[in-house]
């Protein structure tokens, strides 16, 4: 405490910048929109990374995203509860799936775990896709309630329609997730996860039940991913099985995290902050046809030249626990 080092300074400056820039560029609404979505994907990337901190590479996080989105959408559609209430509740559906996941994949590691998680997505996806009475099947649900309007400190914030307010909401949730992620790295439990990631045998020799700790990490991770999915559903106002259970949503957080640096506190956020706006704001307008090729090229080059991720550029934190 007390001493402020360069990495904390950089973090504070970054957060401040994220909080202040929309006030300066008031009229650049499309930037608010894209940066808002960036925050949403950063939440997903942070969620993915909390599980990855325990050494488990998941290729199935879209299952949590989709379950969060669908549970929240169904509660909203059938019972007309406010999104404020359906989002935290709906994300619990993702946690339920995480419990089954933890039990079922106890013995799997490495590539096998990745492949199994990829396959596991089919279960919620196909059920949602075919339970016509409850979920309307492949038709999806349209006309979901928007995020509500709240009055905070006398300022009316319309999170549903005002893109700038929406950005601040997403930024706020993202910062909360970042705080959680920070706790997951810089805490006793965080080191437990790291110990499991580095050597499970040695971790067990220290009395750490790696399955239990990994399951805990997954619960947390799935809840966050579920929240991200629920937010997505209410921001878009619609859900569809093929939309929210999508391989792309499993790969995206992985790419963001690895690109940014998956062992660093700011890694996943940094990856999202660079890659998503790069694609949406620059590559797509400038190269409507060839943007994804350039995007692919950026990913390839980064891994070759910055294998530890972009966050390795940040000033290093002090060498202590």
């Amino acid at each position: 405490m007390g001493k402020i080092n360069s990495s904390q300074l950089a973090a504070a400056a970054g957060v401040l910048l994220l909080a202040v820039w929309p006030l300066i560029f008031r009229n650049q609404v499309q930037f608010h929109q894209v940066l808002g979505m960036t925050c949403l994907y950063a939440i997903l990337a942070l969620a993915w990374n909390i599980y990855a901190l325990s050494g488990a590479i998941s290729l199935g996080h879209t299952a949590f995203f989709g379950l969060g989105a669908y549970a929240s959408a169904l509660l909203n559609h059938h019972y007309h509860w406010s999104p404020l209430c359906t989002m935290p509740l709906g994300a619990l559906a993702a946690v339920v799936f995480a419990v089954f996941w933890s039990l079922g994949f106890r013995r799997l590691r490495g590539v096998y775990l990745g492949l199994a998680s990829l396959a596991a997505v089919e279960i919620p996806k196909t059920i949602v896709d075919n339970w016509d009475q409850l979920t309307y099947g492949s038709m999806g649900i349209v006309g979901l309630d928007r995020l509500p309007t709240l009055t905070i400190g006398g300022v009316e914030m319309d999170f549903g329609l005002n893109v700038t307010a929406q950005y601040y909401l997403l930024l706020g949730i993202m910062l909360l997730a970042l705080l959680l992620h920070w706790k997951c790295i810089r805490s006793r439990w965080g080191w437990t996860l790291r110990v499991i990631r580095e050597n499970e045998t040695a971790a067990a020799a220290l009395g750490i039940d790696s399955n239990r700790e990994r399951a805990k990490a997954l619960m947390l991770s799935s809840y966050l991913a579920g929240i991200a999915g629920a937010l997505y559903a209410h921001i878009m106002g619609l859900v569809e099985p093929a939309l929210v259970f999508n391989l792309h949503l499993s790969v995206l957080p992985l790419v963001f995290s690895i690109f940014g640096g998956s062992t660093m506190v700011f890694g996943p956020v940094l990856g999202a902050l660079i890659l998503y706006p790069l694609e949406q704001l620059f590559l797509m307008p400038l190269f409507p046809m060839g943007h994804s090729a350039l995007y692919g090229l950026v990913i390839i080059l980064t891994i070759f030249f910055f294998p530890k991720g972009i966050a390795a550029w940040l000033p290093a934190p002090p060498k202590s626990v």
Partner: protein
């Protein structure tokens, strides 16, 4: 270690400079007061790239055609195209970018309802007219949105198809296979409702994920159920496989009908003789034009061929039609010496009545096309022949081909 860090620092700075330049370059208000800017959002890459590109070409053609005539009321038109990658949030991002940064007068394009929906909401919120090229679902047009228009709708497909089934083919036992997408599912539901009303029996209904490599086991279930007609709600690629496997075994089918993917000359070319006798539906084709618009149609085909070195098809025509509608409305506003605002263009769109090759285009209160009606075609001797409705039929249904 040290030199590395400083090297990274230099790079960081360089990249930061580049980025800053980029931001400046792309955010500076583009000075071209004269030009009318149209925004287009379509899936130009990914799974839906084929229809997306086709719509894009149709729109592009309409814009260049307008420019070749000296622009709209003397002002040149610029088309700004964007890819939505078949993801709604990307569509929203790009719509925002087009509306706020590019300051477009109107939006066109859009394939698949989950993408058209969010774009239409952006359009409404920011008072920019949006003419969707290919959108079917009822719910999209349901909520009153004075800025949203579309040139197609589901009823225009389902109605003629079901009437053809019950009146011309007189089938009693029908099977439906559709894709696990919202549009295809709604199509299936709608067809089932229509057919039940007409007294036909839907004896088998199933759906599949787009991209399934095999339908032959599903087809094995048709003969025991004594199915007379198979309706496929699948898309182009699904029908490619389905039709090949359909022809491998005798199934005793009277008809195979697919509204999407079959009524294309390219489909016939890919599938070859196996396509003979199949039924499809389309709104337009180089050989299938609404009576009275043959000349316009031929000019379009000739011009399109020259420009893109390929044949236009019904998807291209949807793109072309939507762009024509938007351009016509803009022209009306400008000729009326009104301000070129979103409200004015929308009002003009609402009162539009155009004679276009694909349809007589006028919108109802929901922004739906009043007269959109597809025709049923049969593939005979490797050509598309209109067989329904009777007033537009160019040939008779060849049952011998169908029952092969």
């Amino acid at each position: 270690m040290k030199p590395n860090i400083s090297l990274a620092g230099v790079w960081l700075r360089k990249i930061a400079c580049l980025l800053a330049l980029f931001i400046l370059g792309t955010t500076l208000p583009l000075a071209a007061a004269e030009k009318i800017r149209l925004g287009e959002i379509d899936p130009l890459s990914g799974h839906l790239a084929k229809p997306g590109q086709e719509i894009h070409q149709g729109i592009l053609y309409a814009v260049e055609e307008a420019n070749a005539r000296g622009g709209v009321a003397g002002r040149p038109v610029e088309l700004i195209s964007r890819d939505d990658q078949s993801k709604p949030e990307v569509a929203v991002n790009q719509a925002q970018d087009l509306i706020f940064r590019q300051k477009v007068t109107g939006l066109v394009g859009g394939y698949v309802d989950s993408l058209v929906g969010p774009i239409s909401q952006q359009a409404a919120r920011n008072r920019v007219p949006y003419v969707a090229s290919a959108s079917l679902q009822q719910s999209i047009a349901g909520n009153k949105n004075p800025y949203f228009f579309r040139v197609s709708r589901l009823e225009g497909v389902v109605e003629p198809l079901c009437r053809f089934l019950t009146q011309t083919l007189k089938t009693r036992r029908v099977a439906i296979l559709h894709a696990a997408t919202p549009g295809s599912s709604e199509f299936s539901d709608s067809v089932q409702a229509h057919l039940r009303q007409a007294g036909s029996e839907v004896v088998l209904e199933d759906k599949f994920r787009p991209g399934s490599p095999d339908f032959s086991v599903f087809l094995l279930k048709l003969p025991p159920a004594r199915v007379e007609a198979l309706i496929s709600g699948g898309f182009y690629a699904d029908n490619l496989i389905l039709v090949r496997q359909l022809r491998e075994r005798p199934l005793g089918l009277k008809a195979f009908i697919a509204p999407w993917g079959v009524a294309y000359q390219s489909f016939i070319d890919e599938v070859g003789p196996a396509s003979e006798g199949l039924f499809g539906a389309c709104a337009w084709d180089p050989g299938i034009t609404r009576p009275g618009t043959e000349k316009a149609s031929q000019a379009f085909v000739a011009g399109f061929r020259k420009k893109f070195r390929k044949e236009p098809n019904t998807t291209t025509m949807h793109g072309y039609t939507s762009a024509r509608a938007l351009l016509a409305a803009i022209e009306q506003v400008l000729q009326g010496a009104g301000q070129l605002t979103g409200e004015a263009v929308s009002r003009a769109l609402a009162h539009l009545d155009l004679q276009l090759p694909m349809e007589r285009l006028a919108f109802d209160a929901h922004g739906d096309p009043r007269y959109y009606q597809q025709v049923i075609v049969q593939i005979q001797k490797q050509r598309l022949v209109v067989v329904y409705p009777p007033e537009r039929a160019r040939g008779r249904v060849d049952f011998s081909l169908a029952a092969r």
